[in-house]
Symmetry: C2
Subunit: 478 residues, 2 copies
């Protein structure tokens, strides 16, 4: 059942409260007695299904096959790659008992599946003919965060896909890591209408066990950066401890080069925060469960004709996801608010006067702008409106993102940018020690990514004055 009341907090002033209201009132999330573990309600799960369908198809085009590996990982496997276990063990949920029997070895609920998958890959890869090996799984993972949960963004259980690939050469692994990164950026920009930045993580921020981590990042309207998705080149860091070797064409034994990459339900939260407003959710047409809602304006005398016309319109618009809200118990005004709260991209209003004039009122959720559309043009108009809305939402969000970015080549400019909640692009040495120092000194800011499109820095690292490795973004982040 939907809440009767609208959003009572302003995005601008009380971002966190505003978000908490939206995700509940728009029926996206439900809390449970397990702290940090939430229900993905049908309305948010359907968004995920659309994103899954897109990515899954793209993976398959690239020769990736789906499989499923066990949820539970023995402790001895998880600890096989040193940096990896150090990164993950503080947040592992451990199974220690089954029925009334204590287990002889603790089992980790997968926080990610490198170790259980690569122990198996060892058996599958023998010859260069077995390469490349490209496997993906869609599954749940658990990371027992002790920080405050933020629905979608940081929860103890979340849903994702994890791709795990093996190649004969580093070049192939490099190329795929970049290719998948671009695909992830495409999913954000073309489906969610969320503008992103692509780049490479610092040594300190890379994935535990990776050779390097590429990432897609964005900045939210509240001035916090967020990591959207990552694509890791693992190098031979796992193939060596796990013994994944192949005979090359010269009959020499080689360790494979590996990548892993993941896209999570976090993306839903990022899209909600990016686009929604004080009236509620705003969804991009590409991922909206309902793209247009038809609301009849009902008067007793013309009721049947009006509802019949709405049903007819739904038929005409069969290529779109259209819902007719013909409920008796609510007024048209109540329905307008309800569907605005739910973020449906277009509203089509039909009343007796509209029917006389053979027209409908079409309202766009993002701009709240109304247009009169002759019924005979409706199909074309809806198609245009949805396409425009998809495009313009991205453009608008990108303008906002750009307004949140500044470049700083001095300490003072850097400091000022951070104080103004900007994402600051600055020359940086890339060293973990230096980054640790910045983090401590400046209230938890960290490097976000070294964007691919930045110039080579001429000036030294603005923090330690040593040679800069690249321009990096810095910001407060989730």
């Amino acid at each position: 059942m939907a809440e009767d009341k609208g959003i009572t907090a302003a995005k601008e002033d009380e971002f966190s409260e505003w978000y908490t209201q939206i995700i509940q009132k728009a029926e996206l999330i439900e809390y449970t007695p397990v702290s940090g573990c939430l229900v993905f309600r049908p309305y948010s799960y359907e968004i995920w299904e659309r994103v899954q369908a897109f990515l899954d198809q793209e993976f398959k085009k690239r020769g990736v096959k789906n499989a499923y590996f066990p949820l539970l990982i023995p402790e001895s496997l998880l600890t096989k790659e040193k940096e990896h276990v150090e990164g993950f063990s503080p947040e592992v949920a451990w199974v220690t008992q089954a029925g009334n029997t204590p287990l002889s070895e603790r089992l980790a609920i997968r926080p990610t599946s490198e170790t259980i998958m690569y122990d198996t890959y060892r058996k599958w890869v023998q010859s260069h003919r077995d390469l490349p090996l490209k496997i993906n799984q869609w599954c749940n993972v658990v990371r027992w965060e002790f920080k405050h949960a933020v629905p979608f963004l940081r929860t103890r259980e979340f849903l994702w896909q994890e791709g795990h690939t093996c190649f004969a050469t580093k070049d192939e692994a490099d190329a795929e890591a970049h290719d998948i990164l671009k695909l992830y950026a495409q999913a954000y920009e073309e489906l969610y209408a969320v503008p992103v930045i692509m780049g490479r993580k610092s040594e300190k921020e890379k994935f535990a066990g990776a050779l390097y981590t590429l990432s897609v990042e964005t900045m939210l309207p509240n001035g916090k950066a967020i990591q959207c998705s990552t694509s890791h080149c693992l190098g031979q860091n796992f193939s060596k401890p796990f013994g994944i070797q192949f005979l090359d064409q010269k009959e020499q034994k080689q360790h494979v080069w590996q990548n892993s990459w993941g896209f999570t339900t976090r993306s839903i939260g990022i899209a909600i925060m990016t686009h929604s407003d004080d009236k509620g959710l705003v969804l991009a047409p590409a991922i909206a469960p309902i793209q247009a809602v038809v609301v009849p304006i009902i008067f007793e005398k013309t009721k049947d004709a009006t509802i019949a016309a709405c049903t007819e319109i739904k038929k005409q618009l069969a290529e779109f996801r259209v819902h007719v809200d013909a409920r008796d118990e609510y007024t048209a005004g109540w329905k307008f608010n309800y569907w605005e709260m739910k973020g449906v991209p277009l509203r089509i209003e039909i009343g007796p006067k509209d029917l006389e004039k053979k027209q409908a009122v079409v309202m766009r959720r993002d701009t709240l702008k109304k247009t009169m559309v002759p019924l005979e043009n409706l199909q074309h108009a809806i198609s245009q409106e949805l396409a425009n809305m998809q495009k313009e939402m991205l453009v608008k969000a990108r303008q906002r993102l750009q307004s949140q970015i500044i470049t700083a080549e001095t300490k003072e400019a850097f400091q000022k940018g951070i104080e103004e909640k900007k994402m600051v692009l600055a020359p940086f040495c890339g060293k973990p020690d230096c980054e640790e120092f910045i983090k401590e000194k400046m209230g938890g800011i960290k490097s976000i990514t070294a964007p691919f499109d930045a110039k080579t820095p001429e000036k030294p690292c603005i923090h330690c004055n040593n040679k800069a490795e690249a321009f990096y973004y810095f910001a407060k982040s989730y």
Copy 2:
């Protein structure tokens, strides 16, 4: 990498060894260091994806929406329905620790999700207008069986869908429980080509917490019955302890009537056991990842032309799932064996002589029968062969199933049937005590189901001589 050697155990003589070889050599399963938890390799996962796609579409037609509920269930929730917890707690995997911190309350990895879902449903159902509520989730579940694992059939983790619905009346719940049961039977018969029996479980064998359990059952070639899928009417057994109530049209508070129903990856194992033979896997065309493999017969002089012709054939057959095996390193004979082992429904052989005569040899995996087909008819012929194979596999399996069934109205006939590894249909009182007695006395046989299509018994229960409630099947079972 595929095994070079074929299956070395006969289905007839060493069923279990035969099955173990098939699932490994056909690259369906991989073992892991976690006992009882297996990898679904891409070749079996793709079968699951097809079944998922079919069921998911059918659920959606019925107004069911997908969602996702947490993996972890607090002990206090799991224990809320008494019979339910008694049924499941002996096989629950418990999370007791996160990172280095002991949890204040143990968390169960879901063995099934009634309790976590219904605790939430309570918040969603208030009025008759919120009904029916129809939610499904596709997920993993863990049941820590202490019996020997049988891949697909009985593993500690498996994949499934679980549908959980609420209705205002028992009639609606009854109708849906039967409707879903029929859908499950359809998936077995029309996708897997596995013949099934529909019926109602005995009191002793019903789901822990259910009012009644409907089930789809079959008999495997080794003389063991197996439960394929179940559809439970939970009555108000959960809505009462969980407080799921609604105001009806007369403003009276009522408890909802509930169903839950599930379809699991067990189905893959049942299909493998039903159809495969001493050469390896046999897959029904509807669920086969590859429906036809094209094998070129290569001679050095005509190699290019032959491979080109194979590629051309793949294009012509674009509506089917076709793979051309043009690998250089294997002979055509090796490939024949390999694809027979993998259970691909049709093999299309093309050699230089075939090309001269504008024909191809088509072999059907189930019958191993070869046919010459003029290339110009190929598309039509493949379509026909696949359709016939799908149909005939079911017919053949149903004949075998029928040959495994007898009716017994005396103790002697019952005893003899069980000794001959039949599924025996007999009048039964339906009482748990009587069933317990039979199970102990007759080496673990149990009631399978009271089939819908049986007559009303005239004779008394053949075990206790009390009034028979219905004809029930009895057998040894998995």
